[in-house]
Symmetry: C4
Subunit: 292 residues, 4 copies
């Protein structure tokens, strides 16, 4: 069992004296998780797939209009198969000044497939993104926010700019040598609003007023702690009418706070790598001994 | 994998310059889903069946009185077996100016039974409705809001006016050639209030004040987005005392908004088919490749 | 399939022009459901059993003091094994002017055991209650609120005054020839607050302010509908500090409404049987055809 | 079946005329429960382990700063493997005036392993704590708050000061001869906020404003009932930004109440053993007959 120095990490330093950073990120899943979960089966029922296709049909455009209204540049994580199925998406997002980044090819869970397969999917997504946008060396967020030490190395080998899947700090850090821009379940819309009538749904959609109250508390806490407020939304979930209203209220709350650095995730990665913070928050991926 | 044009769908146009439409729909399930789930078994326990029979005994009449008070004409989706067991229901609803439409015969899930069986049940329901009301060519909503491409074709072959089971847009559209009047889980009372002490119950009944707040947000969002606010309630769930009060508050909120088109679902279908919207929102049922 | 007359049930009539009735009932389960679920197993872990024993040790006395403060006479449903284990309970409750009634012997689910066994347990409970209190011909509520047509007949054969386990109306009615005083999941504290760290726990304990708001809405709805507001609490759940406060607020709300008939369940049964309501709300236990 | 005297327990007496006691306790689990649940398996996925390591990296220090700001001395329950992995933790806590106490070695569930194994883990934890802090005869809280009668005896044999795992009263009592400082699920942060995307997660993280409202009600109830308000938080859960804010509001609420005794758990144990309360609240661990 290795040992950890703790308790004495320094404060994270943000540019221009800002007290915290805000990133609006969107995992543009559309129907891809449903297809992945159904792989190899004959699928006849339309319920969930139609519900998810609401995302690229209507939801994404609404989010994009909202962002444009407030001049927000977001970070959009797009599975390869979604970019392939909806070829207008990536060009539309890049045109709008948004960041596009990887999110698996089939929304595959990395730890559940063979490492060589995961690598192949990454390469395939990189090639597709290059064809559709001309861009290389983009960022990455793992589907279902699940990661392995091995795949962190694969990402580096293939020139990925950063990962954004883990939550070991609440500001940027470095894990296994790769910049990690942490996500957080508390500010993921899917936990609160996803309902597809499948076994995995755990409760009814939450009251957006209660979610807004919780998220504003998290934001205010990040201002106090000096952390990263990385919201994650989904095209087919937050594109729904009541959630656009909720996001608008959240944005307006944050807009009234001048001490916030609004940024895309790739801007955060650049800041982290070139700032005093670099090398201050290094952790190994693990070293877990479960044989006791 | 087929590809989709997206992002550039036009706004939906409502009659007389209205900004959105409102439909109050009721799935008159009574005990039918319990019977379907128990088919072929000997059922001795009375708990859930008595709880559900509250619907036709008291709940439905309360909802009908509430609608009458506000002069609302609703859309009632009735399984064949419920119309058969309670033969006064369909005539009562038609007399009140409400729409009656199909909802399976035994509340069967369409994708879970043989296609020929599903078709037979549809025909049987159509015959029963014709006998009890003299009506033909009614609308349809699938039990559990589950549908297949094949059954969309069956519906058209049997002269069904529209389907109302999917959620691929949040305004009317056309799927596989049939008009679709989308539902939405967020405004389905069952998710929030259904509790029968069975394994499928996921939490306690919600606070109706919180549900009201959420539904009003969805309604206000629909006014902004120009969509369809299709509420779905159930006889045995929303007929309960606290929920009648909640529905009254919702109705009074909407009543104060002059830009709303209150309609029955069949009126929406007629509008859609004859308006500029027709053929603007066409999608195939699917084309899902899960073999990768 | 038999058919039902519906829609045209008359209003329920309460005594002295009251608009609704209120009963505070308590299912005094203590550790009995845990023992029943663990029957035949060796139980070593103490967590849930100690949590439940809080009921007879502290919770019940708190509820009783609260009732005394407001001069409320409640209806207490007590499994035989609880009366046996805590022999001071029944005399204490009777002394306080409360109703005591049956709730199984081992908190057994009636539909899950042999009919002869269920009958034997009933007789055993009746004998024990008679020894401890001198009372006979008491009321009955089934554990887990589950009932069978057969057991409704057993109850009558053994002189039980009424049953209170079903929810087919929201005022008293008669099922299979026995008076039924309906319960309702919405006003059962266990759904909102029970948490034992077992698989059946579905969420964290609810915020009592939200539950209070929901329950007051149900009460106000019952005033409008003319129904029975039958609250059900549990010794080990509502005896907890925050819930005593919640109950006090509920009681104070109801106390301000002069149109309410506060009663014990046995008083309701007597009223029902001797009033104009008798024979107006008769239903068969079932007649379910699940072979289609 | 043994019988219990009940209903007539006296009031609990607190020192200096205080009306209730408040303990802030923290179960410093970090990654230990995940390792225990994964024992013997090869673990490749990083999600939950990184999420939990946020606790010792950032969460604990935030809680400690908050406590320091209000001069609160807390009670910290630390699994042996956490103290071993993060050797700076125990000295840091002792230095801050906090109580450190046992919480298993590998966060093992006591009732699920062999008694001799449980005893061996206790001894190993005691030795480690002695090496790291010089302290002996510390208190104990069982992982997952699960306990057996047998292990209560083991604890006494090894000089443990008290146990804090059960909830049979809501003030200190004595079970099987050992002082028990009761916990309560209602004021455990994990039930409300834990979310790791595993099957055991039952719903989304709660709105901290609603949790605060519930906890304040429980605190106010304890003032009325004269009980122990024992809050339990976790490093990786309540160290998150929004929860630090919630805890601050809770602390400020309690601070305004002069009738409260703020104490560490070990101070409560000392008070209980030497006060008039001693021997007034004695219960056997059980005596459960499940063979009927």
């Amino acid at each position: 069992m290795h040992s950890h120095a703790t308790i004495n990490y320094p404060e994270y330093i943000w540019p221009a004296g800002k007290s915290c950073a805000v990133v609006f990120s969107l995992d543009l899943d559309a129907e891809s998780p449903f297809l992945w979960m159904s792989r190899g089966q004959e699928i006849k029922h339309l319920g969930e797939i139609e519900q998810r296709r609401f995302g690229p049909r209507q939801g994404l455009a609404r989010v994009a209009r909202l962002f444009e209204e407030y001049d927000i540049k977001g970070s959009f994580y797009v599975p390869g198969v979604v970019a392939e199925t909806y070829p207008a998406l990536l060009p539309f997002l890049v045109e709008g000044g948004h960041e596009v980044a990887h999110h698996g090819y089939f929304h595959e869970r990395i730890e559940a497939i063979a490492p060589a397969q995961a690598e192949e999917y990454l390469v395939r997504a990189q090639e597709l993104f290059h064809v559709q946008t001309g861009l290389k060396g983009l960022g990455h967020r793992a589907p279902s926010w699940e990661m392995t030490a091995e795949f962190l190395n694969v990402l580096q080998r293939h020139g990925v700019l950063y990962d954004s899947s883990l939550m070991g700090f609440d500001h940027p850090y470095e894990v296994e040598g790769l910049i990690e821009l942490p996500v957080q379940w508390t500010v993921d819309d899917a936990l609160y609003f996803r309902y597809t009538n499948s076994a995995r749904d755990k409760t009814h959609p939450a009251n957006p007023a209660a979610v807004l109250e919780s998220w504003i508390e998290e934001f205010e806490g990040m201002r106090e702690c000096g952390g990263l407020f990385m919201v994650t939304i989904h095209d087919w979930i937050s594109g729904r009418a009541q959630r656009i209203r909720m996001l608008r209220k959240l944005i307006e709350h944050i807009r009234r706070c001048p001490d916030v650095w609004w940024a895309r995730a790739d801007e955060l990665a650049a800041w982290h790598g070139n700032s005093i913070n670099s090398k201050r928050f290094l952790v190994p991926a693990h070293s877990i001994d479960t044989h006791f």
